[in-house]
Symmetry: C2
Subunit: 365 residues, 2 copies
């Protein structure tokens, strides 16, 4: 499948939903992808099975605080530099670009890189959503080494990190991101086709496209976009458990850019059917847990998206502000993301939460 | 000339004087060098003219706060890993190890690395003393690129930094040193023989050996070690201007480990001929300026060493404590270190001092 201009907005909207508040606002990514396509570059979305077992493939992402990414716009050369440095260091030419994180900006940037370098992009990612740390990825859970990680900033500085431990790559890299101004371009988990096939959350770029398209078409047909969105999700293999958790107005917001992340929480006062109730959503780049009082409504790694109550347009954590009318939607994570091994890496305890993981479909309404 | 066990203590003592309080306590380096020699390794000290113009040569150093280095002892494998990663990345095998900084620990470690890898060490360095930042080096002043810089820590993590600007290598590297626990092993300014010949402060390892030997022999002959030390310095090509600036007792000390450096100042109350007077020495890893009231007694890049008043044993900033009886010695820096280009990089203003540089020999006593 070829990605064309008509896909850009749908993909950006769908990626923002899967970003669960984080992953960076896809707006800048959509401008970059549009520009690359208008410049005559072509990019193909391919199935992971089309990769040869020995084909070298490199995931690309932006690392850093979404609050910074919206203000510090890439010039486009850094991402190519990151890929070329990876190829030179590993000593292999990339046959495809992989997506590390389908949530937010990072869903679009691999397509920009693929377009600029004439490489296909594989349909899938390593999170099935967005996460704030580098080790929180199926590539790591299935034993693909995170290193070498290459970081390239807008001043043509390049940093390469080698470590046997994904957590060390995260720790050293996070520190470097702060020194690089809070956001930077990375290639990491460079791998071969055989590893991509066994470690990828498949089909998530198509899923993001489908989500975005569903909302657009619902609006055009004057249908309730939430009804259509939930219907669509229920047809997917991974994300079939979903519901509107809360409807309300944002009445309080704490947001800090700290240690390279956007940290905080938003408080909602119920409207409509939720009148008289309050909901709090805590986030570290991404939404971690939605609570009503002490009661958990949904918790990481299940997805928690905050959408505009009228249009179902997703709202990222850095775009939250007082007085927005929103709906909070909970979506079940892919089974690959809920295994004990996966929960050990990105379950609630990995974020310092005390609540155990309870699958969305087992939380009574 | 072959470096043998009998040289180790002399070299460590001389290097501590040239370290002007910083460069790391050479004690750990002397233990490591002694061990390497006792293990049967051999290391030759060679003149830079013995390098072929195309011979690849790699400077090695520890980067970080001396206060950390005395507590976080290298296991020895990191330094070899740093060199091997440099060779692999640049694609050339090293023919020699270079010294970046003759002051302190960093005078001995290149010899340890040379011994462990069977490579000669070139007699000279890039500072003729110690400095707290990576761009403060003649290699930079003569246009040798600082990058690629390779950092290797005790957990087998490796970080490689590429940048066209030595200041960026310093800034990104300093940040990474903090993440690596405050001190780490680095290879930087990898170069060829032709560049070493034009950018090196020559003969400084021999000089450190001579300084250390002079003090040892003076003690054994019951001569005044200060008299002998100054006599010896006056026979050297670069360091002939020298004098005791102050004698006193340490009565106050402020020392913080901050941003990867040991920062602070020590206050001395005069003894002997200095009775009734006070002297303050400010430092950032190394001593920057010695003052009596507002009057400057000596200032960076000239060398300021604090020595035990009885034995002339050098005292590093991290070993300063209340009640020590000391003498402060000022020594003129090599002419290559006092050019306008050099002063722009490591003159007083590079450390945020307002006082202009005045050569020691032009400061009236």
């Amino acid at each position: 499948m070829q990605i064309t201009l008509e896909h850009v907005d749908d993909l950006a909207r769908g990626a923002a939903i899967l970003g669960t508040g984080g992953g960076g606002d896809p707006y800048i990514g959509s401008l970059m992808l549009r520009q690359a396509l208008q410049d005559g570059h072509r990019v193909d979305l391919v199935d992971v099975e089309s990769l040869g077992d020995d084909d070298f493939a490199v995931p690309f992402a932006m690392m850093g605080a979404p609050t910074v990414i919206v203000e510090k716009i890439p010039n486009g050369a850094e991402m190519v530099a990151a890929l070329r440095t990876t190829e030179r260091y590993v000593g292999e030419k990339a046959k495809a670009v992989l997506c590390a994180e389908i949530g937010g900006l990072n869903a679009l940037l691999p397509l920009v890189l693929g377009a600029r370098c004439g490489l296909p992009v594989v349909d899938g990612d390593g999170m099935g959503r967005a996460f704030p740390q580098l080790q929180m990825i199926t590539y790591n859970i299935f034993g693909v080494p995170a290193a070498p990680m290459i970081m390239a900033d807008e001043y043509s500085n390049t940093v390469l990190i080698e470590s046997d431990h994904a957590l060390e790559v995260e720790r050293l890299g996070r520190n470097m991101v702060v020194a690089m101004g809070g956001a930077t371009n990375i290639c990491l988990y460079p791998m071969h086709g055989r590893d991509a096939k066994r470690s990828m959350v498949r089909g998530t770029i198509s899923l993001a496209l489908g989500l975005g398209r569903t909302i657009r078409e619902a609006r055009r047909a004057s249908n309730d976009p939430f009804v259509r969105l939930l219907e669509y999700l229920r047809t997917t293999p991974y994300y079939q458990h979903c519901r509107v958790l809360f409807e309300g107005k944002t009445v309080d917001l704490l947001r800090e850019t700290k240690n390279g992340w956007a940290m905080g929480e938003v408080v909602l006062e119920g409207t409509g059917g939720c009148l008289g109730r309050r909901c709090t959503v805590r986030f570290q780049n991404e939404h971690l847990v939605a609570r009503e009082g002490e009661r958990v409504l949904a918790i990481v790694p299940d997805l928690i998206a905050i959408l505009d109550a009228a249009t179902a347009e997703p709202i990222t954590t850095e775009a939250l502000k007082y007085g927005q009318r929103v709906a909070v939607v909970g979506i079940s994570a892919a089974p690959i993301m809920r295994s004990p091994e996966a929960l050990a890496v990105f379950g609630p305890q990995a974020f310092g939460l005390e609540d155990p993981f309870v699958p969305l479909e087992r939380i009574s309404v």
